[in-house]
Point group: C2
Chain length 166, copies 2
């Protein structure tokens, strides 16, 4: 890979003005590293699906992925994509956006986090919210009813800073 400038892409960076190739590159490097550590096999298909998911900050659906894959691999079929997605989800490399039946890359697969997203209804971009306070409040609120949370889906739709201007 050619040497590239390291631009920090912070969580909550809604700007279009970053070099998104850096996001993609970072994600793939991290994924390879994590899978290596874990003895999980980031095969060609899986890697390519991850790359396609990272091709934008918009969640992408399984059949959109399939459409692209088919151009490169004529025998790609739904299971091809869904198996790759299952693997990537298991490894925490992507998240599922329930409200869209779509998938998005996880920028920080190595950290504990909760899969909480802000999703712009205009440009479609989504960013992960790293806010442990929400998680704690949710937990304590549930506990006050005796309910123990194991996993959560938090998806807030609205307008990102960019799209409020336009």
């Amino acid at each position: 890979m050619a040497k590239r400038k390291t631009v920090k892409k912070t969580v909550g960076d809604w700007a279009n003005n970053h070099d998104h190739r850096v996001c993609i590159g970072d994600a793939l490097v991290k994924a390879a590293s994590l899978c290596g550590q874990r003895g999980a096999r980031l095969t060609q298909i899986r890697r390519r699906v991850l790359e396609l998911i990272w091709s934008s900050h918009r969640p992408i659906g399984a059949y959109s992925l399939l459409k692209v894959l088919k151009k490169e691999r004529e025998n790609a079929a739904p299971p091809t994509v869904y198996r790759a997605l299952d693997f990537l989800l298991e490894q925490g490399l992507i998240h599922r956006i329930q409200s869209q039946n779509a998938f998005i890359g996880c920028a920080d697969p190595n950290h504990q986090h909760y899969g909480m997203f802000l999703i712009c209804t205009d440009c479609g971009n989504a960013v992960e919210l790293e806010e442990s306070k929400i998680d704690r409040l949710l937990n304590s609120s549930a506990l006050s009813q005796g309910f123990v949370i194991e996993s959560r889906t938090v998806e807030a739709a609205g307008l990102c800073p960019q799209c409020q201007i336009n």
Copy 2:
């Protein structure tokens, strides 16, 4: 309708030991009243779909509803159900559970609320979380990135008090 004891079904009541007919009855009465006020037509089909949704505290899918409806109305088809669901969603009489592609009755359709749910992975029951603090925290957390939330999906999966015992 026969006179019945008014049993308060509080939010967060996970017990099986309430008379669920009361939940159903209350929901239908409230729905009729609200629709009346709004000039919205709670037709036979819509009312029946609402009743079926309220038949348990578990979210129920469109095609499960259809299966039941077909026994009573031989020309019921997917649009029959989805139109009723659309109406009930618009009126705030039901909520959609995104993580299950399923629907659940709203116990308090007249109040402002946020559609936040606790869903038991064991018994399948779901209750709506009335916790404005979570909503405020979510809003402020989003705002700190300049993001304005318009709607939210909060679905926490875990074990309800009953199912922790078993």
